[in-house]
């Protein structure tokens, strides 16, 4: 629940003017609606008395009031909708932005399941409604309740007591929902939904494997098992909501009966005029609508809380990551220059892993040199690339770029100095031009075509009528594995770094394509140094030096010479 509160506070802080404006405008139609009922009831009763007794009745004041309330109610509804939605959208924009910023600082643990990311979209969608479905109706109910209690207290104690009993009953209902909210069930719902999504995705993508190993029907059964767990959990949630609604409706109706009784008693005693009594009764008729507005929001509270918790969890990590970044921007320790890039006694292990991937690794890449890292898969080559690109930070030792510890180089400068070309080029669901301009936002169209030309992708792109404006990625133009690699290359061809890090850029390519990609890269790189994570002969052949990570390393602290071997 704390996280829901946090979300509300965040929204309030983000734009408190629109936050309160929305609530204030929402009050108008609610109040006007109740007053409309009350005045109408009063008016027709007064009219009936006047009609029977022949006494004079000023019909202009009440009918003017009725008109005014009707207009305020209708116009207020409109204003309320516009303003509360506007407030929500304002918040939504700011919120997404913050979320992205906080995620951006956590790339170091780069492993994230794409499908589980979808949960994030759902979570945000849930949070979007907190203001509209929870904050506004609750504040509204509170204000209406307090005002009514004040009015009743000025009329008669019996009325006040009756009103207070029923309003506190509504309050209890809300508090009960809040306190006894079934977080466990919400968790079950989310877990079942995730399980269903993941298993369905597994089933779709792995049908061939499943047909032979494990069976498709069995896989379908597991999805259906998740679905029945989901149905069960949702049914439990719905049952609560339905009880809540029934309770609230019944409360409203019984309140009506009670107020009828009380008002008639008071009229009999002469403490209340007939017209006012009818007016009061009609006001109570309008109450359930206002008090029941917050029910759906309240019933969904446990799931909202979970979603808020997950999202706030992501946000919180940002603070920690941020403080690490501050440390990095501290003073710079300059050491003796040992080439463009140097690893000094670097060790690294993935959290929780029994064995460290790298142990006391030292090497350097000289100016203009191509250093290939070789070794069987799993020996830590890709980890070296991630460390060099500061996607991860070393457990021990230092990584030095141009004489400065990479931990102390500001991000913008580091990114300008190092270009990484990886195994998997991510295609954004955007135009070719936007996909390329990630590397260099100032590149002209001519620059983009030149880069595509150099990467041998220009023909493929110009085949499409939209050219650079062709949409890539999901639902757009699908590029094959080789073409994606070329796009990554084209991105790199828009940068001029001092060091290129190549992470198995030819993986999955046939020999001819691989050779072509490598040659195109080498002709572009100029005098930049290259750290190449290699896994095939073609790559090793093009290197100046080869460092074999699987070669025996001798002692704990091997000197660079012992692990370097010249490639014949």
């Amino acid at each position: 629940m704390k996280s829901v509160w946090h979300i509300i506070r965040t929204q309030h802080r983000y734009d408190s003017f629109h936050f309160w404006l929305g609530i204030f405008v929402a009050l108008l139609p609610a109040a006007a609606g109740l007053l409309l009922l009350g005045v109408s009831g009063w008016f027709i009763t007064a009219a009936a008395i006047a009609g029977l007794s022949g006494a004079f009745l000023n019909i202009f004041a009440p009918s003017a009031l009725i008109r005014a309330f009707a207009i305020i109610r209708t116009a207020g509804r409109y204003g309320e909708r516009v303003l509360t939605h506007d407030a929500t959208f304002r918040f939504l924009t700011g919120f997404r932005n913050r979320l992205f910023a906080s995620m951006a600082h956590r790339t170091s643990d780069g492993r994230r399941s794409g499908l589980l990311l979808n949960r994030l979209t759902l979570d945000i969608a849930v949070l979007d409604t907190v203001y509209l479905r929870l904050v506004v109706p609750l504040v509204l109910a509170l204000v209406v309740a307090v005002s009514l209690l004040l009015i009743w207290s000025s009329i008669s104690p019996l009325l006040l007591v009756t009103g207070a009993v029923f309003i506190s009953a509504w309050g209890c209902l809300a508090v009960w929902t809040f306190v006894r909210s079934d977080t466990k069930n919400a968790r079950r719902t989310d877990a079942a939904l995730d399980a269903m999504r993941l298993r369905a995705a597994d089933l779709a993508a792995g049908r061939r494997d499943l047909a032979i190993y494990g069976g498709l029907e069995a896989a379908a059964e597991t999805v259906l098992a998740a679905e029945s767990r989901l149905a069960e959990a949702q049914e439990a949630e719905d049952l609560r909501t339905s009880k809540l609604t029934a309770g609230s409706t019944l409360l409203g109706q019984v309140f009506l009966a009670a107020i009828l009784l009380v008002c008639l008693l008071e009229v009999g005693r002469g403490t209340l005029t007939a017209a006012l009594a009818v007016g009061l009764i009609l006001v109570v008729m309008g109450l359930p609508e206002i008090f029941s507005m917050s029910l759906p929001g309240l019933a969904k509270l446990p799931r909202v809380a979970l979603a808020a918790g997950r999202v706030m969890g992501l946000m919180k990590d940002r603070a920690e990551a941020g403080s690490a970044g501050d440390r990095a921007s501290g003073k710079r320790a300059v050491t003796a220059a040992t080439g463009v890039l140097a690893f000094e006694d670097v060790s690294f292990g993935y959290p929780g892993a029994a064995r460290r991937v790298l142990e006391g690794l030292s090497f350097y890449v000289a100016q203009g040199e191509i250093l290939a890292l070789a070794g069987r898969s799993g020996c830590g080559k890709s980890t070296v690339a991630a460390l060099a690109a500061r996607l991860r930070s070393p457990g021990q030792g230092r990584i030095v770029l141009g004489g400065v510890d990479t931990g102390r180089i500001p991000d913008a400068e580091l990114r300008r100095k190092i270009t990484v070309i990886g195994q998997k080029a991510y295609l954004f669901n955007d135009t070719v031009a936007e996909n390329l301009r990630i590397a260099n936002p100032d590149a002209s169209d001519a620059d983009l075509w030149r880069a595509l030309e150099q990467a041998a992708l220009a023909d493929r792109i110009s085949e499409n009528p939209e050219g650079l404006q062709t949409i890539l990625g999901e639902g757009g133009l699908g590029l094959s594995g080789g073409e994606q690699r070329r796009l990554a290359l084209a991105r790199a061809f828009l940068t001029r770094p001092v060091l290129f890090v190549l992470d198995e850029i030819t993986e999955g390519l046939d020999a001819a394509t691989a050779g072509d990609v490598l040659d195109r890269f080498l002709s572009y790189r100029g005098d930049a140094a290259v750290l190449m994570i290699a896994h095939r002969r073609q790559e090793l052949e093009r290197a100046n030096r080869v460092l074999d990570l699987t070669a025996p390393r001798g002692g704990v602290n091997p000197s660079p010479e012992t692990i370097l071997s010249e490639f014949q």
Binding site: A47, I49, A104, L115, L216
Partner: protein
């Protein structure tokens, strides 16, 4: 929160020809020719009936308000008169108290009944909607499970989204919207009838105002509706794009593009807000019209009642002036006349979502290019029944023709494979290597000719065969769950497998050290598609999984070394060498390195297979 649109049409008269069968039935049908157009998420007859019943119960609960309004009017009816006869006020007070008590008790009793009916209606609608959803999911999955793995299939992301979110959208539609239709038809009629009992003019006001609403709303709402739907899509795109950027964060980080992207996301959000608000300002007008007309309707009633009571209007009743009780009664009923309209409009959003989802579900599965309803003769099944495949089988292709999208892959193709031989299939991409393996597994039925395993048609033997085969594809797929669970998928009785077998299999695949390095060893959970492992590591684990199947008599491998580094490829070849031993083995490959383990090799291009020359990048 707001009823955006209201449209008047009876949209759910579904065509009877799309009547749905139960899951089992679909599965049966699919076993033969695959069904192409399957409608998902339609209610069956019983479910339609139940939804109608929920609507009727809701309507009855609404109409009971007439009784409550009557009680209220009756109890309050004597109020104005009371003040005229001031002398009898004592008598009047006791009368009043008695009437009030009776009315209050009556209202509370009817209230209980109303709440019970509403609750009942809601429960019925909810459970029916849930049943429809469950069935839709069951149907989707049974199609997925029975469709041939070589047939076209939606992407895993799309399939998962359809099974979860799209089916979810059906729920609110059936549960909130469908019952409202009946309610809308019954309640206003009842209210008008009750009003007409005392005043035909009051009823007339309602009858005139009611139909005005859809007219006005249509005028304002139609264009706004289309625009707001576009805006909804825009919102989906907005969150999609955020997600897309988060997925590609590493790329953005590496190019130092984080801050720029943040700026873009902010701008896009702001653009979306201004655009949406422009549309919503119009869209909300349609619900404002609803409010306005209902307010006007009630106001007209109030004015009519007020002036009648003042004695200034004498028309509209069935003779005699309108009494206070009657006037109050008419006024109390008027809002309920408009209530179902508002509920209908509020649920209209659910309708749009539900209908769109149902349409998307219907087009999820691409139509199969050439369904082959070739029933396997009873003869074939008879032969298959006796086969347990306990020794390496002989396989024969007899004049097989197979075509894909009008392109012949095999034309009059014949090939005999001896038991326990290791056959290497060579040939360029598109020469039919994968199709041949699919044919043996029963994923692919020949258009003509026969594929025989031990003299039995392959498709008749498929069920047994798939349990007795070691299969290794070029892009094997690992599943969510622990590494151990993934390995055990290959065996039928996972509980009976000793720990040693797992390690033997891993050793054969050269994956021992890999597993030792993982944080939790064999219990390490894998994400979708072997998440967390590199391409080479996934292939090793897949090889280990294949090796778990010790009782296999057949080995089929499709490009087992494609795009592997030399070391992993060497390990895979070594592993395959061991696995081929004592089994009939067919390996499709480009890799010359695999020739060392083959006892025979054929080039498909020279063997009657028609190479269409379709190359893959």
């Amino acid at each position: 929160m707001c009823p955006l649109h209201l449209k008047w049409e009876s949209d759910t008269k579904r065509p009877m020809k799309t009547k749905r069968e139960k899951i089992g039935k679909v599965a049966e049908d699919v076993g033969q020719g695959y069904r192409t157009a399957v409608a998902f998420g339609w209610p069956d007859e019983g479910e339609s009936r139940r939804l109608k019943r929920a609507g009727r119960l809701l309507a009855v609960s609404d109409l009971l308000w007439i009784a409550q309004a009557g009680l209220i009017s009756w109890a309050l009816g004597s109020l104005p008169g009371m003040f005229l006869a001031a002398d009898d006020s004592l008598v009047a007070e006791s009368d009043l108290t008695a009437a009030a008590l009776q009315a209050a008790a009556g209202i509370a009793l009817v209230a209980l009944l109303r709440v019970f009916l509403q609750n009942r209606a809601e429960t019925i609608a909810r459970q029916t909607a849930r049943a429809i959803q469950s069935r839709a999911r069951g149907d989707l999955l049974s199609v997925a499970a029975t469709r041939s793995p070589s047939a076209e299939f939606p992407s895993s992301g799309a399939f998962a989204a359809h099974v979860t979110e799209q089916v979810d959208l059906l729920g609110p539609y059936y549960r909130n919207f469908e019952p409202q239709k009946l309610r809308l038809r019954l309640v206003p009629l009842g209210i008008v009838a009750a009003t007409a009992l005392f005043s035909w003019l009051g009823a007339l006001i309602l009858v005139v105002c009611g139909p005005l609403i859809p007219v006005f709303m249509a005028l304002i709402g139609l264009r706004a509706k289309a625009a707001s739907e576009r805006q909804q899509e825009e919102l989906v795109r907005l969150s999609g794009s955020l997600l897309d950027r988060i997925k590609g964060l590493e790329t953005l980080t590496l190019f130092g593009a984080i801050e720029r992207t943040q700026q873009q996301i902010g701008d896009a959000g702001e653009r979306f807000r201004t655009g949406t608000m422009r549309v919503l300002k119009i869209a909300f007008l349609s619900s404002t019209v609803l409010e306005l007309v209902s307010a006007l309707g009630i106001a007209f009633c109030a004015v009519y009642v007020g002036f009648s009571l003042l004695g200034e209007i004498q028309v509209g009743t069935w003779g005699g002036p309108l009494t206070f009780a009657q006037g109050l009664f008419i006024l109390l009923l008027a809002p309920e006349f408009f209530a179902p309209l508002r509920a209908y409009a509020a649920a209209y959003h659910d309708r749009a979502g539900g209908l769109a989802a149902r349409e998307r579900l219907a087009t999820l599965f691409p139509a199969e290019d050439n369904p082959r309803p070739r029933p396997i003769g009873a003869d074939g099944f008879e032969k298959a029944g006796t086969h347990q495949l306990s020794s390496p089988p002989a396989i024969e292709f007899r004049s097989v023709c197979i075509s894909h999208q009008q392109r012949d892959v095999f034309k009059d193709f014949s090939l005999a494979i001896e038991p326990a031989e290791t056959l290497l299939l060579e040939g360029p991409s598109g020469s039919g290597k994968t199709t041949l393996i699919d044919g043996i597994l029963g994923f692919q039925e020949p258009d003509s000719g026969e594929i025989l395993v031990e003299e039995v048609p392959a498709s008749a033997l498929a069920a047994v065969l798939r349990r007795k085969v070691i299969w290794l594809g070029q892009s094997p797929r690992l599943f969510h769950g622990s590494l151990r669970a993934n390995l055990l998928k290959a065996v039928e009785t996972p509980a009976a497998v000793p720990e040693d077998d797992l390690w033997q299999a891993l050793q054969l695949a050269g994956a021992e050290t890999l597993v030792q390095r993982l944080p939790r060893g064999l219990e390490t959970p894998l994400g979708e598609d072997g998440f967390g492992l590199s391409v080479g590591e996934i292939r090793r684990v897949a090889l280990a999984r294949a090796a778990m199947r010790k009782d296999a008599v057949l080995l089929l491998a499709d490009e087992p070394t494609a795009s592997l580094d030399e070391e992993t490829a060497a390990d895979v070849i070594n592993g395959l060498r061991t696995l081929c031993n004592g089994r009939t083995a067919i390996i499709a490959t480009h890799d010359k390195g695999l020739r060392q383990i083959a006892s025979r090799r054929i080039d498909l291009k020279s063997l009657g297979a028609v190479a269409g020359g379709r190359a893959f990048a």
